[in-house]
């Protein structure tokens, strides 16, 4: 998995690309979110536009990050969900857990709404 970090206002945007799968991207995702929290960034937006594959470990890591961020008083939301990841969140009903956006501006604004 490739990643890039951006700051938009007070929101940390993590642009992710490639695979979030067992033994590789899942660990990286956890590290990216941990580093964000350690640097005081508790509003985190995962931009999944470039993600081609995710498996149950990657989904589990997203859930783990979501709960970790919430426990620290922050929020983690999703941006640009590819159709196949949307399907995976739908069938496990996790789509009801995450806030999902197609527009970055709206996603960023939602953190301070």
């Amino acid at each position: 998995m490739k990643s890039a970090i951006r700051e938009v206002q007070d929101v940390r945007v993590l642009d992710l690309e490639g695979k979030i799968t067992i033994g590789s991207g899942d660990v990286q995702l956890r590290q990216l979110v941990e580093e964000s929290l350690q640097s005081g960034r508790t509003k985190i937006l995962l931009n999944l536009k470039g993600v081609t594959h995710i498996d149950s470990s990657g989904i589990g890591e997203m859930v783990g990050c979501y709960t970790t961020v919430a426990r620290r008083g922050g929020a983690m939301k999703l941006l640009n969900l590819p159709p196949k990841i949307n399907d995976l969140l739908q069938v496990t009903q996790l789509i009801t857990v995450f806030d999902v956006f197609d527009n970055e501006g709206e996603a960023v604004a939602s953190f301070n709404a």
Binding site: T21, I22, G23, S24, H53, D55, S56, S57, I59, G60, E61, V63, G64, Y66, T67, K84, L88, V91, T92, Q93, L94, T96, V97
Partner: protein, 144 residues
């Protein structure tokens, strides 16, 4: 195919599946989801079956019968597994768990999933996807 118990080897098996499906004319969407089921089965075999022991192997067989079915067998060399112990990840008390969705996804994307004791003492799982003449697997609403 025999794989060492390393997650990197999941890519090799998935690559083999992609090639077989392409040659057999299996539709891309079906290949993608069957590939996901294979990846989940291999991850289970490597992590929970063989417990990442580098001396243990995962045995994989993929058979494509064009227009009829795609069959995958994955067998580990672990100590066995009881699929009845797997919890429902969609129930409210499990929704925020950070694991336990792999077998759920396998069952969702395949038509038949059968666990049995393997010949080597571990677990053998057989996955079957029915194919129509156009190579499409179809994903019914009922499976939800």
């Amino acid at each position: 195919m025999q794989l060492l118990s390393s997650f990197e080897n999941i890519e090799i098996a998935d690559g083999m599946l992609q090639e077989l499906c392409s040659t057999a004319g299996v539709e891309e969407e079906t290949t993608y989801w069957v590939g996901m089921a294979l990846r989940e089965a291999l991850a289970n075999a490597i992590k929970h079956g063989n417990k990442l022991n580098p001396e243990k192997r995962v045995h994989v067989l993929v058979r494509v019968d064009p227009g009829r079915e795609l069959c995958i067998e994955v067998e580990d060399e672990g100590e066995g597994f009881a699929p009845a112990d797997v919890v429902d990840p969609t129930s409210p008390e499990n929704l925020l768990r950070d694991s336990g969705r792999g077998i759920f996804y396998i069952r969702h994307f395949m038509d038949t999933v059968h666990f049995s004791p393997g010949e080597r003492g571990g677990t053998r799982v057989e996955l079957i996807k029915r194919l129509d003449k156009a190579g499409q697997g179809g994903f019914d609403e009922e499976r939800d």
